[in-house]
């Protein structure tokens, strides 16, 4: 028994989610597969977006999956790290922008 909450082997079992609720599981995977097809954005562009989002939401499964996928689709290490910095900047900025709320509150209550 693996005592870790996250086990890399579990990623391979993702499709088994449908075993407990087939209708919703199937709908999700149909949607998921459709999302990642070449369309107005290419599958390659979607892959680097997914990599950045994976870091923003800190999902180890997604990071594994989209690090491989983005590299396979030809993104370089430098480009991939820049995508992670974009995620990081947005996350950092999201905290920092709340500083305005703090400033507003202080201005409201301070003499």
């Amino acid at each position: 028994m693996n005592n870790s909450y996250y086990n890399s082997e579990d990623l391979k079992k993702f499709s088994k989610i449908s075993d407990f609720q087939k209708v919703l599981g199937d709908k999700f995977f149909d949607y998921y597969n459709e999302v990642f097809k070449d369309s107005e954005l290419s599958a390659r562009e979607k892959s680097i977006i997914a990599l950045a989002v994976a870091h923003a939401i800190q999902c180890p499964y997604c990071i594994d999956a989209y690090s491989s996928d983005a590299y396979e689709k030809g993104w370089s290490e430098g480009q991939m790290m820049e995508a992670v910095h974009v995620a990081s900047a947005i996350r950092g900025g999201a905290s920092l922008v709340h500083g305005v709320q703090m400033m507003n509150k202080i201005k409201e209550i301070a003499m």
Partner: protein, 350 residues
């Protein structure tokens, strides 16, 4: 520079050791389903030839490069090259078997065989389509090779050249320091004599193969990116891009084992098994000839020393009827040709 496995006396330079690893891992892992079982499930076992039309001749393991993924374990230290006597036997077979319409010359660097140019010209006299797997850097390796683009042009050779990626970093990591720059220069030289231009009859195709333990992505999309990048940055044109999957043998097997990627990679290949690709595998229309004249189902079986399963295994005893009716020898390495959109010396299979 890295050396061949053979010169390092690495046990993976021995075909039986490689086969043992491929079979041994099978016994320890339920996911690694035997390839035979997969073929059986889609009615393809025993695997039989469809129509044999390609004669792939490996004229030697000598090469000016030592690529990390090379299934031939080629390099400057390899001395196994085809003699003129074996070449004469190949020409006799071609003369007697007009169904062998395409002759695919490979190596090592085939151009390093001292009889290469003579052999090409003799094949040309037999009116066959000739394809040379040129590693590009050979053109710049020595002044005696500098006129190769003209020689190719005069003999209307189709050129197939590896360029693992359109960036220096990934190419050099796989093929050696400086290979990207030399490859770009060689491609420009080929373009200059008329190769790779749309509508022209001098065909220049490039080969992508992954620089690591992963599968190729879409051939169509990669081709578009290659064309755009190479034209924009280097003014280079080419005809088609073939994506090829690395098979887990020889130096690539060594890489997989050294980096702990072996089982995951095999699992990836097996998970991506595609029956449509399996029905189109290149061993169904190709006969592979080794430097010493022995016959194989493909270049990979050749490197694993799995000779054709017929009594007459040598070019001197060539029998098209025996070869047409034979069963093709398969193994776990064959998953490399049937994963995803499939893989062959001519790119994807579907």
């Amino acid at each position: 520079m890295i050396r061949s496995l053979k010169s390092q006396q690495n046990k993976l330079s021995i075909a039986s050791e490689q086969l043992e690893i491929l079979e041994h891992s099978l016994r320890n892992n339920n996911i690694l389903i035997p390839f035979q079982q997969k073929l059986d499930e889609c009615g393809l076992y025993p695997l039989k030839p469809s129509s044999i039309n390609t004669f792939q001749i490996n004229i030697g393991k000598m090469c000016n490069q030592v690529c990390k993924h090379c299934h031939v374990d080629a390099g400057p230290d390899r001395k196994e090259i085809m003699s003129k006597e074996i070449m004469i036997l190949c020409l006799k077979v071609l003369e007697q078997n007009p169904v062998l319409e395409t002759v695919d010359l490979t190596g090592g660097a085939p151009e390093m065989n001292p009889n290469f140019r003579w052999f090409v010209q003799e094949i040309k006299k037999l009116n066959r389509h000739i394809l040379v797997r040129c590693n590009l850097t050979i053109i710049l390796a020595n002044s005696k090779y500098a006129d190769l683009p003209i020689f190719y042009k005069e003999n209307k050779i189709e050129i197939v050249s590896s360029l693992p990626f359109y960036t220096k970093d990934r190419t050099d990591r796989q093929r050696g320091q400086g290979v990207f720059q030399d490859s770009i220069q060689a491609l420009q030289m080929l373009n200059e004599v008329g190769y790779g231009q749309t509508g022209a009859d001098l065909i220049l195709n490039l080969v992508y193969n992954p620089a690591g333990a992963f599968l190729p992505s879409s051939q169509k999309i990669l081709e578009k990116e290659y064309k755009q990048e190479l034209l924009e940055h280097y003014g280079i044109s080419f005809n088609s891009l073939f994506t090829i999957t690395n098979l887990p043998i020889s130096r690539f097997l060594d890489y997989l084992l050294q980096t702990g990627n072996y089982e995951n990679y095999l699992e990836k290949l097996i998970t991506a098994y595609n029956p449509t690709a399996a029905s189109n595998v290149m061993c169904r229309n190709t006969i592979s000839v080794g430097w010493d004249g022995y016959l194989y189902d493909c270049d990979f079986n050749q490197m694993l020393e799995l000779k054709v399963a017929i009594p007459q295994k040598h070019i001197s005893l060539f029998s098209l009827s025996q070869l047409t009716n034979r069963s093709i020898i398969i193994g776990q390495h064959c998953y490399g040709c049937t994963a995803g959109a499939g893989s062959s010396c001519g790119g994807t299979l579907i």
